[in-house]
């Protein structure tokens, strides 16, 4: 199959590589670039564990072809915490917000996007924002509580 050369910025660093037209961004990030925080949970956009930020917007990397991200900026949780934990991550840590942790990278990115747009979300806005990120362990409450406490005025 024909290879396509793509260049994108990943967590602030330029990244150039050859991909096939049908390769998924999730697989390329994990297997070719070595960024492992986006996880494969359902491979059909249901669970949100492969969430990344593409140009600041949360997307499912299992539903995006790698060739589509040429010229764009990608952020994963590895990039968020390069200079120490973000206040959101610290809040999640303080609240024991995660149990098995598999959904955590996607959840961190989704809430990061929410707080960029809406620094003081209501409980309902938080629930709406993370409704596409499935967590089977926590019952979501400690995740919601951490965000509420972080963002209360």
């Amino acid at each position: 199959m024909k290879k396509h050369t793509i260049t994108f910025r990943l967590n602030g660093e330029p990244c150039t590589l050859d991909v096939e037209a049908n390769e998924l961004l999730l697989d390329v990030l994990r297997d070719k670039v070595g960024v492992k925080s986006p996880k494969a949970g359902c491979e059909r956009g249901d669970c949100g564990s492969c969430t990344i930020l593409l140009e600041g917007k949360s997307v499912r990397s299992c539903l995006i072809l790698a060739v589509e991200v040429d010229g764009q900026e990608i952020t994963t949780v590895e990039g968020l915490s390069r200079n120490g934990l973000t206040p959101l991550q610290q809040a999640f840590l303080n609240h024991n917000s995660f149990q098995c942790g598999f959904c955590a990278p996607g959840m961190v990115l989704t809430v990061t996007e929410l707080l960029e747009k809406n620094p003081h979300p209501s409980k309902e806005e938080i629930q709406e924002a993370i409704a596409g990120n499935l967590c089977r362990c926590t019952g979501y409450q400690p995740i919601i509580d951490a965000v509420l406490e972080l963002t209360k005025k």
């Binding site: 994990r30 024991n96 098995c100 942790g101 979501y140």
Partner: protein, 805 residues
């Protein structure tokens, strides 16, 4: 209890930083180099068929294919309690999706394409998809060779039938008990199958090296048990336990689904088929649903007799379980329920029949609750109904009959400590029991309920735990155990227990994920037993290390051993107030004496724990004798539920759960189990609805069609309540909690719906459509169409329970 320094406090999870930074590595995140191979499984399209021929020649011609594998290469069976599961289907397939062959290739795409080229010729057989069909005298047999399977001594399979196990518990005289009753109520309840839905799918990587060493990296709750099952299965190939190493990094949720062995066996045998090449298999979400293990469905008949004053005189509880194609683990679910299906009640006359039935549906196994979630639905529904029938407040009825310490259990043993009365009272108060509430919305009504729960770990009587602790030069500590951090906070709790004994701060303790070559033994992380069992082992290991520290100080400095103690990471002496020697000064390099020589050396400790009071020797006809359970954890839960009478849509306005954990080692983590477990339980009754077609094919193996809760589905308020009546044999008084929190959810919803609308729903799930239709007088099961929510075609009330004895 107040003397503890660390136990009972809630330090942050020691795995928290790994998880929120993305540093936590799960199996699929490990790199195995450019030689990594991938496998795709060829699956049966039939629920029951004979395999006439397998032709792999076309698949093998595809460039990039390394090898194909079938049962000819690995004709072995495996299993935890009964060796009835085939590595690859041999001669016969028993469920849709069963593995018939595997194709190993250099990339995933090639493996998938090649798997489609494998030609399998089948001769379809009659499939038994319905429990009543499976139990007919002339039923097609799922396992014609049942009598040949090895199994544990407390299983009683019936050869030439589809009965894999039958647990009978008999106490007193039920007929006499019913004769004494003023009111007898009997009815049938059904609970369908469920899927665990851990967000991480099963992943296994295997590497069989040139020297004959097999290493497996597994997404697992059970590294040692996996090693044991795989070693037993592969012993004909010359492998022994020492040749197999199981490494289990972080696991992305288990809930019982990653206990024992399911797809992990493929990683072992396929790696052996391609010696010298690492190989990895990641289950798709669909495979996760149909070829790991599901929770068993059950159809339950409850007959209860009570006196007018509310005393329960007799209980007859008959449970027919749909075990699916393989019961190697699931038959123990049936066993556990068969011993404990009285629920947390004092009942003098008991007859329980818990029957494990093979069908041609997906295999079943452990799922959080292990049979108790299932039987509590019918039992706790029934308790509310019968209380109302005699005109007694259902909460008062429960108070009157609730089990208490010292009561005799149905199989003759005595009940352990646990404060059910307090749990009931706290929950009743939290939901303002007795106060009728009305919704502000004209179409909505509000109902309430209190349901009780209990559960014991289900495990072999000699299931054990072991622990190593070793000090580092700076006085920090490694705890080397093989329980799994499946999210519950195990690592943190083990660190707290070690910290309590050795006075090393929790943040100076590392608990590493298991490696069977290095970490100490643990049976499995199941049954809500690791805090209790492994916690005891860690405590013993820490005491062992403390003894060595004291001996070192005594030998070097001459202080009497009984006067030496630890405080704040220092060795101190009661007779030498000025003496305080930091652990970091000597736990590796010893203590220098006056002549310049040293005493001591690296401090390590080991500890074990096995419950030496348990046995599985109960009489097969009555279960009397023996002591099959270590302890029960008891509690209660309450709910305030708002229901829309037009749409059936429900909203949980408030839910509360009180559980007696003996001693909360880390209360915030216990709260996490309560809040998370309650939602998982509510999901089984309010949202999740598994569907098979008439040929036994699972129709909704994905999160679009099998709805697990999102953040929008959480109760408006969840109140966790921790009660602490110490468990005498638990570490610092702790007993298990984890599974328990999902058990009361289902009956609580059914009872609250009845309280709100006067509608009694006896078939799970109690979804909105079912309520809305019932409110219109329409039976949901009669109109839902051809898809089956459970594996029997008939209406529950027509189900024939009579199958002899």
């Amino acid at each position: 209890m107040d003397d503890f320094n660390v136990v009972g406090t809630s330090p942050s999870r020691i795995d928290g930083l790994d998880k929120i930074t993305g540093a936590a590595k799960y199996v699929d995140d490990l790199d195995f180099g450019p030689g990594l191979l991938y496998a795709e499984i060829v699956e049966s399209p039939y629920a029951h068929a004979l395999i006439k021929e397998i032709d792999t020649s076309e698949a093998e011609k595809l460039p990039g294919v390394v090898k194909t594998v079938t049962a000819k290469d690995f004709p072995h069976t495996f299993g935890l309690y009964m060796k009835d599961r085939y590595i690859f289907a041999r001669d016969r397939v028993r469920f849709v999706g069963e593995q018939v062959a595997a194709v190993i290739a250099r990339d995933v795409g090639t493996a998938k394409r090649a798997a489609k080229l494998v030609k399998v010729t089948y001769e379809p057989l009659t499939a038994v998809l319905d429990l009543s069909e499976a139990l007919k005298p002339d039923a097609a047999l799922v396992h014609p060779d049942l009598e040949n399977y090895e199994h544990c001594p407390w299983f009683f399979p019936r050869p030439k039938t589809n009965i894999a196990h039958w647990r009978k518990t008999r106490r007193g005289d039920v007929e006499k008990g019913f004769a004494e009753a003023d009111v007898i109520l009997e009815d049938t309840y059904t609970v369908p199958r469920y899927a665990h839905c851990a967000i991480e799918p099963h992943v296994i990587a295997g590497y069989y090296d040139a020297a004959g060493r097999l290493t497996l990296w597994a997404s697992s709750q059970s590294p040692y048990t996996q090693r044991n099952i795989i070693a037993e299965a592969l012993s004909p190939m010359g492998l022994s336990h020492k040749d197999i190493r199981v490494i289990t990094p972080y696991v992305g949720g288990g809930f019982g689904g990653k206990a024992g062995v399911s797809m992990e066996i493929f990683g072992a045998v396929l790696a052996m088929a391609v010696k010298g090449h690492p190989l990895k298999i990641r289950w798709s979400r669909a495979q996760e649903f149909y070829n790991t293990s599901q929770r068993q469905g059950v159809i339950a008949h409850v007959k209860m007799g009570v006196k007018k004053d509310g005393t329960i005189t007799a209980l007859e509880h008959t449970l027919h379980w749909d075990a699916g194609a393989y019961a190697e683990y699931g038959a123990n679910v049936v066993n556990a329920a068969g011993l404990s299906a009285t629920g947390p009640y004092r009942i003098p006359n008991v007859k329980i029949d818990s029957v494990c039935v093979y069908t041609n549906l997906s295999p079943t196994g452990a799922y959080r609750g292990f049979g108790y979630s299932e039987f509590h639905f019918g039992l706790e529904s029934h308790v509310t109904r019968i209380a109302k029938q005699i005109g007694m407040d259902p909460v008062e009825f429960r108070r009157k009959n609730a089990i208490a310490e010292g009561d005799t259990l149905a199989y003759g043993a005595k009940m352990n400590p646990g404060n059910m009365q307090e749990a009931i009272n706290r929950c009743a108060k939290a939901i303002h029991w007795g106060r009728k509430e009305t919704s502000e919305h004209p179409d909505r009504v509000i109902g309430k309920d209190i349901s009780l729960f209990w559960k014991a770990p289900a495990m072999p009587p000699n299931a054990s735990s072991a622990a190593f602790v070793k000090f580092n030069e700076d006085g920090s500590l490694n705890v080397m155990v093989s329980g799994m951090e499946i999210g519950q906070g195990y690592m943190t709790v083990m660190a707290q227990i070690a910290s309590e004994v050795l006075t090393v701060p929790v943040d100076q303790i590392r608990v590493e994920t298991p490696d069977t070559d290095r970490n100490a033994y643990e049976w499995q992380t199941v049954g809500s037993h690791v805090t209790w069992s492994c916690g005891n082992a860690v405590k013993n290991a820490a005491l062992d290390a403390r003894g060595k520290i004291i001996t070192t100080v005594h030998r070097a400095l001459g202080f009497p051993e009984e006067s030496i103690y630890l405080e704040n990471g220092q060795a101190k002496c009661r007779t030498q107030p000025d003496f305080a020697l930091p652990l970091c000064d000597f736990v590796i390099n010893g203590i220098q004496t006056k002549d310049g020589t040293f005493r001591g050396g690296p401090i390590i400790g080991s500890g074990i724990f096995m419950p030496e009071f348990t046995s599985a020797t109960g009489d097969p006809e009555t279960s009397q004798g023996g002591h099959p359970n270590v302890h029960y954890t008891v509690g209660a839960a309450g709910i305030i539920l708002e229901v829309d009478r037009k749409t059936g849509k429900m909203e949980v306005l408030r839910t509360v759960l009180a559980v007696d954990v003996g001693q909360a080692i880390n209360p915030v983590l216990v709260d996490g189990q309560i809040v998370g477990g309650l939602l998982q339980g509510l999901a089984t009754v309010m949202y999740e609805d598994i569907r098979y077609d008439a040929n036994g094919k699972l129709l909704n193996p994905n999160f679009t069609d099998y709805k697990i809760p999102t953040a929008l589905d959480v109760p408006l308020e969840t109140i966790p309540i921790i009660l602490e009546t110490p468990q005498p044999d638990g570490p610092f008084g702790a007993r298990g909690v984890g599974e328990h929190t999902m058990i009361p959810a289902a009956p609580m919803i059914a009872n609250a719906v009845e309280d709100a609308l006067g509608i009694r729903i006896k078939t799970m799930p109690v979804i909105a459509e079912k309520i809305a239709l019932a409110n219109l007088g329409v039976d949901y099961d009669a109109v839902k169409g051809d898809t089956m929510g459970f594996c029997y075609a008939k209406k529950p009330e027509d189900y024939p329970f009579g199958i002899g004895d």
